[in-house]
């Protein structure tokens, strides 16, 4: 247990923003129990940029889902900013995600019936901000990702890179504690991928956003401050 705590705190004395202790996840298929993550201990400091790497089936996306609060662990705890999210009810977890997590997906996951502006505005409808305050925030975020001139375009009128920029703006809009990115460049060509990675790096460096990114691309991982390797559900190098 002490070793686990050391692993979690290895980057400093202060408690990390994300503190994972003894985390396990198993899937049950009939009589079979399939372990996906085994006794994971990991800490992520505020302002960190962590790349989770590993071969397919290593459990990196599952770990990211658990950190983001969209899946529940079989055992162990995940504390984000002091809150053990594994113990939250589904409704509380939804409210927690709305406030603390920004999502960037491989396939952007924008609402096809909403414009870029409306997609970025969407998470703000869960807040008590006024229309004017929402508008100011949306325009700021769209400017940050360089898409002010495309704000009235629907996703199918945008390129893959532009759609991912909209998704990044949406992830930023609530000023979340943590940004999780699952293969954010997996659907993009190399040049566009570099632009997106540069943008994410900027978010981390200039806005001090804490980012946890899953990738299998070593070039993408180079943009992160820290690499974490998983193999067969076990942390091999953190």
């Amino acid at each position: 247990m002490a070793a686990a705590a050391d692993a979690v705190r290895r980057d400093g004395d202060a408690l990390p923003l994300v503190a994972i202790e003894g985390l396990s996840k198993v899937y049950v298929r009939g009589d079979q129990v399939i372990p996906v993550l085994v006794d994971i201990n990991l800490g992520v400091r505020e302002g960190d940029y962590v790349a989770l790497m590993g071969p397919s089936g290593s459990g990196k996306s599952t770990l990211l889902n658990l950190i983001a609060g969209i899946d529940k662990p079989s055992a162990g705890s995940i504390r984000v900013a002091g809150v053990d999210i594994a113990r939250l009810s589904e409704a509380d977890l939804a409210a927690w995600r709305a406030e603390h997590v920004g999502f960037i997906f491989q396939f952007y996951n924008l609402m096809p019936v909403l414009t870029a502006y409306q997609n970025v505005d969407l998470p703000l409808h869960l807040t008590s901000l006024s229309r004017a305050e929402r508008r100011e925030r949306v325009l700021t975020c769209l400017a940050l990702v360089g898409l002010t001139d495309r704000m009235d375009h629907f996703p199918n009128e945008l390129s893959g890179g532009q759609q991912q920029r909209v998704a990044i703006a949406r992830a930023l809009i609530t000023d979340p504690t943590l940004i999780v990115a699952d293969e954010p460049t997996g659907d993009l060509d190399r040049t566009t991928a570099e632009e997106i990675l540069a943008l994410m790096e900027r978010l981390n460096r200039e806005l001090r956003k804490t980012i946890v990114m899953v990738t299998h691309d070593p070039k993408a991982a180079e943009h992160a401050k820290r690499l974490v390797h998983l193999e067969k559900g076990v942390l091999v190098d953190a």
């Binding site: 889902n65 969209i70 589904e90 709305a98 999502f103 969407l122 869960l126």
Partner: protein, 384 residues
């Protein structure tokens, strides 16, 4: 944002949504028309008065009653007035031109039916003309009759061609009143029969008995029937409503079939709509999962589906209701006087709205439940 998402999602697949709405329009219109047919069948029942009883021969309606019963009926406690009528069953030009014709005891009969509004001068003209007749406004319009026109009717029960002069046209006091009836003097009928078949004279088809207190209808009916018990022509007395329902019950099987079809139509469109909504929701699992990941609750996602389904169903329902009126009008015109009263009632409209709402809610039930329950990680995987 909720309304925007619902609206844009609803018209995302324009062809699919248009076809679904078209299906609902057809179903709701058909439902409305079939319900109106059922109500038209009961129109005679709805137009009855609680103060009128009908006394007929206990054996069957086809057997007459003696005219002498009129005086005895007047003496029964609670009876305010007595009149009588004979079904004539004649043919105007061809058998296709069906409308009810009655020989009536004019003075007393018209007083008992205040729902027939007749101009005083026309009523007077009818009363003084032995060959005079009264027709309802709808019937007169159907055949283009005007006051003074001579109307030949070939008798089937009472042989020969009977020519009447139209002296009055009555209007219904409200939309429920039957305006397709044709009345002439019972006296003319009786005198003619007496000349041709003396033994068949002084007989009436039914007596119409007006009572003072409708709450005593059952008691007075029993008194009347007791008066004529063990006579040559025993009577059966019932309220006018029960009398009319007796006719409706003769065709009850058809009515039940029409009602069943009207509900089957709704069940079919419900299945079609449910399939559409299930398909729609399944295609959007990834979007719903994304919304949930962003912090929107399961209920929000479920309401999105419910609202979309309800919106489509109610839009189709509204168009269907709007289409019901001209179609009902055209149908009523096509069937002529077969349905004396053929109006789309407020009750039918309410049922149409209810049916459309039910289709929307039921169709969304399972898809909304599934979308609300789908795990975020599973829903997101639907993208890849």
């Amino acid at each position: 944002m909720f309304a925007l998402l619902v609206l844009r999602n609803a018209f995302r697949h324009k062809l699919r949504t248009t076809l679904t709405i078209a299906g609902i329009v057809v179903a709701i219109t058909a439902f409305g028309l079939l319900r109106t047919i059922v109500e038209a069948w009961y129109a005679g029942v709805d137009a009855t008065s609680s103060t009128r009883l009908v006394t007929r021969n206990a054996i069957s309606l086809v057997f007459p009653l003696p005219l002498t019963y009129a005086q005895k009926l007047r003496q029964v406690d609670g009876v305010a007035a007595v009149s009588w009528a004979n079904w004539f069953g004649g043919v105007y030009i061809t058998e296709r031109n069906f409308f009810p014709q009655f020989g009536i005891d004019a003075d007393t009969y018209l007083d008992m039916y205040p729902e027939f509004v007749i101009k005083p001068e026309e009523r007077k003209a009818f009363l003084v003309d032995r060959n005079g007749a009264i027709a309802g406004r709808k019937l007169a319009n159907e055949y283009g009759w005007k006051i003074g026109d001579r109307i030949p009717i070939r008798g089937t029960i009472f042989p020969g061609t009977w020519t009447f002069t139209l002296r009055a046209i009555y209007d219904g006091v409200d939309a429920k009143t039957d305006e397709t009836q044709f009345y002439f003097h019972w006296k003319l009928l009786n005198e003619t029969i007496k000349q041709r078949y003396p033994k068949r004279g002084d007989q009436v088809g039914v007596y119409v008995v007006e009572i003072r207190d409708p709450t005593r209808a059952a008691e007075i009916s029993q008194s009347i029937d007791a008066t004529f018990r063990n006579s040559l022509a025993e009577t059966l007395t019932e309220t006018e409503k029960a009398f009319q329902l007796g006719f409706v019950s003769m065709t009850e099987a058809i009515l039940v079939a029409v009602q069943a079809v009207s509900f089957v139509v709704i069940v079919i469109i419900m299945a079609v709509m449910a399939n559409t909504m299930a398909m729609t929701a399944r295609e959007r699992y990834a979007e719903y999962a994304t919304m949930k990941a962003l912090g929107f609750g399961n209920d929000y996602v479920a309401w999105l589906i419910f609202a979309e389904s309800l919106g489509i169903a109610l839009l189709g329902g509204a168009l269907g209701i709007a289409l019901t009126f001209p179609l009902a009008h055209a149908f009523a015109g096509a069937v002529g006087t077969l349905f004396p009263v053929f109006n789309v009632s407020a009750r039918t409209l309410a049922m149409q709205v209810g049916a459309a709402a039910l289709v929307g809610v039921v169709a969304a039930g399972v898809p909304a439940w599934r979308a609300a329950r789908v795990r975020i990680v599973d829903g997101l995987r639907a993208v890849a």
